[in-house]
Symmetry: C2
Subunit: 339 residues, 2 copies
């Protein structure tokens, strides 16, 4: 184990688009765990769209990411040194360790880390379908959209860590699952590999009218539930296709994370179609995590829930991979592999 811990710090806040200048690779001395602590060597970092919001110094659900400190985020790794009786060297754990090679954590603080079983579920999956993105999909679909068999569910960013799970869970419950994704490769993956009924390529239909027409073709019976990760044109078109009493789980609006807010063009549709739209973040619904993780873990272990990862190599690649995620350049869950 090296005595240096490399970290990525946020050193400035973006004005408009985030850029590499906002980040800096920093070397810090690696301390020793005190009594009751463990030292975790991170194997994978999770890169997630929500991190962009935290880079701003603005009102949001989370405190802003502090400047000149390690970028915060989910990680999986292996215990390298334990001075806590509940953990042993070699234990696989999920923790919120941030963009750094190692972290020293105190397991007595609730939610800091938990051991995971990698017999049937790969370690990285605990940052994807059997982790925060999977539970996000599970909660938004089942608790907000409340799908019933025969209904149509639309999910944007459909090939991503969250969207891919939404559609597969919807299919498993007898729904028509319609994705929105960027490019023929992603759309083909969504329908052929993940089993969605249709996937609309927003890059092939950059004009709102053309996109609306394509979404209409893919949703001949209208839309009953929408799991929204993108916002903007995609949300506007979906709202116009919603059936009466449709339900929208608002999980992300990545199209507006850089720069000016993107309006919703026809909010009167919420009234005309008596829609419910609910914004949520999954960390505020910890009560569902055990049930959700149990279902998701079983589905992954038995090969019934498919997923894909985009893996950047090495800590220094994290900022570029993160900027690519914001542009939709990832294909599946975006990770950074450290070990």
């Amino acid at each position: 184990m090296a005595h240096v811990n490399r970290q990525i710090h946020l050193v400035s806040r973006p004005t408009g688009e985030a850029s590499l200048d906002n980040f800096r690779l920093v070397e810090q001395p690696l301390g020793e765990p005190r009594d009751g602590q463990v030292l975790v060597r991170h194997h994978y970092l999770s890169l997630d769209p929500y991190m962009r919001g935290r880079m701003n110094d603005a009102k949001s659900y989370a405190q802003p990411q502090p400047l000149d400190q390690v970028m915060q985020g989910g990680t999986v790794g292996v215990v390298a040194t334990s001075r806590h009786p509940g953990y042993a060297e070699g234990d696989s754990v999920v923790c919120f360790g941030g963009w750094q090679e190692c972290s020293i954590l105190d397991p007595s603080v609730p939610g800091t880390l938990r051991k995971v079983d990698t017999t049937h579920v790969p370690l990285s999956a605990y940052l994807g379908p059997v982790g925060m993105p999977g539970v996000t999909a599970w909660y938004g679909l089942l608790k907000i959209c409340q799908p019933r068999a025969g209904q149509t569910i639309v999910v944007s960013a459909a090939s991503g860590a969250v969207g891919s799970v939404v559609g597969q869970l919807a299919k498993a419950r007898g729904c028509r699952a319609v994705g929105v994704a960027g490019g023929a490769d992603k759309c083909g993956y969504v329908t052929r590999e993940l089993g969605f009924d249709a996937c609309v390529d927003y890059k092939a239909h950059p004009d709102p009218k053309a996109f609306h027409a394509a979404l209409k073709d893919a949703t001949p019976d209208g839309v009953d539930g929408c799991f929204e990760n993108v916002g903007g044109m995609v949300l506007d078109a979906t709202l116009a296709r919603m059936n009466a009493f449709g339900r929208i789980a608002l999980c992300g609006m990545i199209s507006g994370y850089d720069g000016e807010p993107i309006p919703m063009l026809q909010p009167a549709l919420l009234l005309q179609s008596r829609l419910t739209i609910e914004g949520f973040i999954v960390s505020e619904h910890m009560e569902v995590w055990p049930e959700a993780l149990k279902e998701l873990g079983t589905l992954v272990a038995t090969g019934k829930l498919k997923y894909r990862e985009s893996i950047a190599d090495g800590l220094a690649a994290a900022p570029q991979a993160f900027l690519g995620l914001l542009k939709g350049r990832n294909f599946g869950k975006q990770l950074v592999k450290l070990v």
Copy 2:
């Protein structure tokens, strides 16, 4: 009883603002009720913002108002001739009789008419606080906003038939009630007569920044529930003041009923503050009417629920009064008095 029944027909659909040209006064022979029917002489017509939406030939919750037929709408009146055993001449009734002097109705069709008691509640109140507008307020506030004591509730069109009830019900449940209305007269009425804690005059703050500042002053602890009748600038400013997990009952968007759709400028706030927004129309929630009407009727009969009416005189005045309602020229529930 005259043998002529005067009616207002919709004869053309508005392009942009509705105008007097869209309506025509028509005289029709007054028929006789057949066996099982009753003839009702209308005393008051109800004019309501939702009627503007039905003048368009567009997708909405209700079928469009047919051209060259009587404008549909709620009415109260007195049975003039009964050929139904459950009704007698002189009975006071609420019915959906439309913009005409009389209607011939079949009580065996559910929802067509019901007898009301005018001992303690004036007949016209059954078109206001003890009728559709009152139940709308009751449902949206209690079932969607779900206010708790100590919370802040904002309601737009606060001096109107719906808004006035929302604020008084919120006060009765221990909330801070903040109205939005147009002009010093209406705002003074809302605070001094109706007992709201504050009322923001949108006409005195036509600029969105100024309006937002005034709303902020009136809601020092933020906003927990919003009952929205107006949309546009008022909704945008309220969204920006919403506390986490706030709830918005979307009842109307009168600011956009004429002309182009008005966008919601910052839908990302729905996510950032984890808000729920729900569009509704009260006629789809008939199960709450008995409970709501019982509470509202008692409050009006005991003088605890105050309301105000704008009364236009005579059938021919209905179109002009309706156009005034869309411009906010009414003060309280807009009625047309026929008898």
